[in-house]
């Protein structure tokens, strides 16, 4: 089935089907819905990191022009779904649950939303918010990770599931590291990083009836969001409608429900008007998750011939005091390389900060920085080429699960990437290559992420104009979901792409999971395929029936679909347009609803996507400036359904990796427990001048054990391994090993 993508000679990569809407402003984002009688909300954040609210003086705000209400724990209506303290952890320990906004007077982190000012215009709400006066009983907060690392604990998730990457893990011999001929022991630190998508988090909440809620919300899952707020308000799921037709980037911060969403919904209910709430850029640093600061330590042992004998990998990640957040920082250490002995220890440090959330590549990107840096350190220690070292320790099956890979074409990535980056120019010894004043270095890093497939349902209909229209609740945060699905549908049916429409981003549409964890094409794609095949079958049956004049007595097995027509195999002259077939049968449309789910193959095969990133950098020896001059990204992601958007996704991931390696750093002043970098002036992401030519190569071999489309997912592996590739290139250029990101000029002089 998959091969049809590439076997067709006339196959042309599709431009983004919604690209024109996006660049002309026709695409509507969550903040752009204007409803009659709309009011505007602005959140007031706490200015302490821990304590209780003594009083909130909102009189001046309430008197300000246009202010409709100031809502806080003092006057909030009851939220039926809030669980009382007994069932929800509020003390520094793991477990817990999401922040219950306006629930009580407790403050757990700085800039925690403590009130919402609702007014007739945004400006009036902003002004009102500036007039709210809050008195606190301040308590001593804990935000300093390094000073409190000793307080890290085992995650509740690890206790629940001993197979989780958060649980303690040991294979092989315990003392393997101690007795290894070559040892690398190093600590790595990844700072807190913010998703900071271009689009600010926004919600417009509208209670259409007392028990019927519609929200236009920036989320990555319409169905999960529907369930969350149905539960919060104790109403049936179908009474909550979630619209997220367009999402302007998210990188993971739409995977969770956040206090501002609850606040807007509460406010809309309380003032009996629709309420729009758009976060400020500063609030994006404190209210919608982030990549948690993570400390890691690796002990790696190898023989002089370059065979790994042991990897011990420990990590501590931060979370909030009220809600546990865990990620798979240590997962790849267990399966990436053929090390007979591996131990991992995952710990959590609850601090007076807001809850983190998966950020692109999530834990794997964090873990890869340590693992792939350590691999580079070991290759250097042995005096071996880092690619050779990796190939020597290549795994032909998953050493963690003891299963064969469904597919793994990482070797192909190494080979192609080497050629494209010009690896032969690299010197084994660092600091030897120069280009004018600049030092030159080459580095690499590997990435992997599970090919996670979930259930998805598609409703598809073909109407008598020959147009194919599909619906699915999945969201699109930018990778080009509709484009890929149109491509799959066209390749399955032969219908021209311009006659196919894919509607997404509404909880009213058939079920799909979150757009996250690189799971969209391999979950929704097979459902599209199934729906298209079902329609095809209906058409063939119809064409073989008595009302299809063109085909006389042709048998169903001889009838095929090609380019929007029914045809008889071997007889190109007999041709009937799909729409005409429907008209001849007096049918307005035919339709089907098809669900697709993960198969049982996961019980026998380990399914993962792989990537390999190469970087060539220049480093100025006197000023410490790093310029990434070239990046090559090679990916084994199974079938590449939509080459153009897939390439864009890799470019975006590599760009995120440059930010991770060289500039992203959310810095907190622990005296106040407050970030001091909270806008794009202080929190740096790459600008155009930082992004070089990014050369993308796809192995493009289908993995039909993973799913019938053959796709393994791309979003995460696009960034996993990029940061260590750059850090390793900087080492190769300078001989300086920076183990705490980002690699800013001050660390290199």
């Amino acid at each position: 089935m998959d091969d049809t993508f590439f076997d067709k000679k006339d196959y042309k990569p599709l431009d983004r089907v919604d690209g024109r809407m996006k660049v002309t402003g026709a695409a509507r984002y969550s903040a752009e819905y204007t409803l009659p009688n709309l009011a505007y909300g602005v959140l007031v954040g706490s200015t302490i990191a821990k304590g209780t609210i003594r009083s909130i003086d909102s009189k001046a705000a309430e008197r300000a022009p246009g202010v409709i209400a100031v809502i806080s724990h003092q006057n909030v209506i009851e939220v039926p779904g809030y669980q009382p303290d007994a069932t929800q952890s509020t003390e520094p320990k793991v477990g817990g649950g999401p922040l219950r906004v306006f629930y009580d007077n407790k403050v757990y982190s700085n800039d925690q939303p403590i009130a919402i000012v609702v007014a007739s215009s945004l400006e009036k709400a902003q002004y009102g918010a500036s007039l709210v006066k809050v008195q606190y009983n301040k308590e001593e907060h804990i935000t300093d990770f390094e000073a409190n690392a000793g307080k890290a604990v085992v995650a509740a998730a690890a206790k629940k599931n001993p197979k989780s990457p958060t649980a303690d893990y040991d294979r092989g011999q315990k003392d393997a590291f101690q007795t290894a001929p070559f040892k690398v022991e190093a600590e790595y630190v990844l700072p807190t990083e913010m998703h900071n998508p271009m689009e600010l988090q926004a919600i417009t909440a509208h209670w259409e009836a007392d028990d019927k809620l519609t929200i236009y919300d920036k989320v990555q899952g319409t169905k999960t969001t529907q369930k969350t707020f149905a539960k919060e308000w104790a109403i049936p799921d179908q009474n909550v409608k979630v619209i997220a037709t367009f999402v302007g980037g998210a990188f993971g911060n739409g995977l969770h429900s956040w206090p501002h969403e609850s606040a807007a919904i509460i406010a809309a209910k309380q003032v009996k008007r629709p309420v729009k709430l758009v976060l400020t850029r500063e609030q994006m640093f404190t209210m919608v998750g982030y990549r948690p600061r993570t400390w890691q330590k690796i002990q790696m042992g190898a023989t002089k011939d370059g065979k790994l004998v042991a990897i011990n990998h420990n990590s501590i990640g931060q979370t909030s005091v009220y809600e546990e957040f865990t990620e798979s920082t240590l997962a790849q250490t267990r399966m990436m390389y053929a090390s007979p002995s591996v131990s991992t220890r995952y710990r959590l440090l609850p601090l007076n900060v807001a809850t983190p959330i998966w950020m692109r590549g999530p834990g794997e990107a964090t873990g890869a920085f340590a693992l792939e840096s350590a691999m580079d350190e070991m290759a250097h220690a042995i005096g071996m080429d880092p690619i050779e070292f990796r190939i020597l320790n290549y795994t032909e099956s998953d050493p963690d699960k003891n299963m064969p890979w469904s597919t793994k074409f990482l070797r192909e990535c190494y080979e192609e990437g080497k050629k494209r980056i010009g690896w032969e120019n690299r010197k084994l010894k660092p600091g030897l290559l120069r280009d004018g004043e600049w030092l030159v270095g080459y580095g690499m890093g590997t990435g992997t992420f599970g090919a996670n497939r979930g259930p998805a349902t598609i409703h598809a209909e073909l109407n008598k104009d020959g147009n194919l229209v599909m619906h699915c609740a999945i969201t699109d945060i930018g990778p080009g979901t509709a484009t890929a699905m149109v491509q799959i549908a066209s390749n399955t049916t032969g219908i021209a792409t311009e006659k196919i429409v894919f509607h997404l981003g509404s909880s009213e549409f058939p079920n799909a999971g979150l757009q996250g964890g690189s799971s969209t094409v391999n979950s929704v794609g097979p459902a599209v395929q199934a729906a298209c095949n079902a329609l095809k079958q209906q058409l063939i049956t119809m064409a073989a029936g008595k009302n299809a004049s063109a085909f006389g007595s042709a048998k169903p097995e001889d009838i095929m679909l090609d380019q929007g027509n029914m045809q008889i195999t071997g007889n190109m002259s007999a041709k009937l347009a799909l729409g005409d077939l429907l008209k001849q049968n007096n049918v307005e449309k035919i339709e089907t609803t098809q669900e697709s789910k993960a198969s049982e193959n996961g019980k026998q095969y380990s399914m993962n996507a792989f990537s390999m990133h190469f970087a060539m950098v220049h480093v100025h020896p006197l000023t410490g400036q790093v310029r990434v001059k070239k990046i090559v990204c090679c990916a084994d992601a199974g079938t590449i359904v939509s080459p153009k958007t897939a390439e864009s996704q890799m470019i975006g991931g590599a760009t995120g990796g440059i930010g991770m390696a060289l500039m992203e750093d959310a810095v907190m002043d622990h005296r106040f427990g407050r970030y001091v970098t909270k806008d794009f002036g202080d929190y740096h992401v790459p600008v155009h001048a930082d992004v070089p030519d990014i050369d993308v190569y796809f192995v493009n071999k289908p993995d039909l054990l993973a799913d019938p489309v053959g796709s393994k997912g791309l979003g995460e592996i696009a960034i996993i391994g990029v940061a260590p590739a750059i850090a390793n290139a900087v080492f190769n250029a300078t001989g300086k090993r920076v183990r705490e990101l980002p690699i800013t000029p001050d660390k290199l002089i």
């Binding site: 200015t47 400006e123 902003q126 002004y127 500036s130 500063e282 004018g436 004043e437 006197l622 000023t623 410490g624 400036q625 310029r627 060289l662 500039m663 810095v667 002043d669 005296r671 106040f672 407050r674 001091v676 970098t677 909270k678 806008d679 002036g681 202080d682 740096h684 790459p686 600008v687 155009h688 001048a689 930082d690 800013t744 000029p745 001050d746 002089i749």
Partner: protein
């Protein structure tokens, strides 16, 4: 943002008059900094006087000087043929600042008047003597990686963020201002001030005065000038350290030198002693290193900006090497 009055003025006189009797009025031109500050309630003017209609955009050569109108856009100045030919240092410094979009909005006067980007100044919940006198300096014992190493006080260690001003102070520019009593000329080096015990005052401009132009005297620095800026990314970031270097060379011998640093002080930091050390010497890396050593005398680091003590002389040497054509 709080409510404020908005008034348009189309002459210098009307602009100045609009400020009289209102200590909390501010001029607005490009608004690239002031609007941000107002959105965060860091600055809360009760009145804005829009001066964009005042005819102060021209760049003209007069006897012995070039005069740049206060409302000339940063991009307009950077792209101006005369500036590029005769004052390339200024053009290079301008292009090292901000982004193309901001340079298209920001004016010369606004660039001079921009406030520090110190994070403590920007967050109204944190202490800052510049924003709220007497509240303390958050950066002193806080996160001061971006902060000053010269001319600091216990009350403020903020830096002036401009690139343009570093070039202007090096080129001995003069700021021409108009007030209720007429015009006044302020040497660029005396325009911005050190924080001392009054960090709320960035400069020596009186509240009812308005910058009308900047003048740069003719010079012989056009062949050997360089602006070297080190920042945390390739573009669109404030300087960790920047250096404006301009040399008047006779063969390999330095006849005259101008040196100034950005990202190191509450004002663009002119390095006169280092300049003197270069005069009459051959342009060599060794000579530049000696000048850099002189330049860094008296520098004082804080917890997170000690790297500037090492980076500073390196950037001076690199800027001078580039200016002298040694790179």
């Amino acid at each position: 943002m709080i409510q404020f009055q908005f008034e348009r003025a189309s002459t210098v006189k009307a602009s100045v008059n609009a400020m009289v009797n209102n200590g909390n009025a501010r001029f607005i031109a490009g608004g690239t900094n002031l609007v941000d500050l107002m959105k965060r309630n860091v600055m809360t003017p009760t009145k804005l006087v829009d001066i964009n209609a005042v005819p102060l955009k021209d760049i003209q050569q007069k006897n012995g000087v070039i005069s740049i109108g206060a409302l000339a856009l940063n991009s307009q100045v950077a792209d101006n043929k005369i500036i590029q030919e005769k004052y390339p240092l200024l053009s290079k410094a301008l292009n090292a600042g901000a982004s193309a979009q901001i340079r298209n909005m920001a004016t010369v006067g606004g660039n001079i008047m921009q406030r520090t980007r110190c994070s403590y100044f920007y967050d109204t919940t944190l202490p800052c003597n510049k924003r709220q006198p007497g509240s303390g300096c958050g950066a002193l014992d806080g996160l001061n990686r971006m902060h000053a190493i010269f001319g600091t006080s216990k009350d403020c260690i903020a830096v002036h963020p401009s690139d343009m001003c570093v070039a202007l102070v090096a080129l001995d520019a003069t700021v021409v201002v108009a007030g209720p009593k007429g015009e006044r000329r302020i040497p660029f080096e005396e325009f911005h001030r050190l924080p001392g015990s009054q960090p709320a005052k960035d400069n020596t401009l009186q509240n009812n005065e308005m910058i009308i132009s900047v003048e740069i005297p003719d010079n012989e620095f056009n062949k050997n000038a360089h602006y070297f800026k080190v920042r945390d990314r390739a573009s669109y970031a404030f300087a960790l350290i920047s250096v404006a270097a301009a040399l008047n060379m006779d063969g390999k011998v330095i006849k005259e030198a101008r040196l100034a640093m950005g990202g190191v002080a509450h004002k663009p930091w002119r390095l006169k002693e280092a300049e003197k050390s270069l005069v009459g010497k051959q342009a060599t890396e060794e000579v530049f290193k000696q000048a850099a050593e002189i330049a860094m005398q008296g520098a004082k680091a804080y917890k997170y900006n000690a790297f500037k003590l090492k980076l500073g002389p390196n950037v001076i040497v690199e800027a001078l090497k580039n200016a002298a054509g040694l790179v």
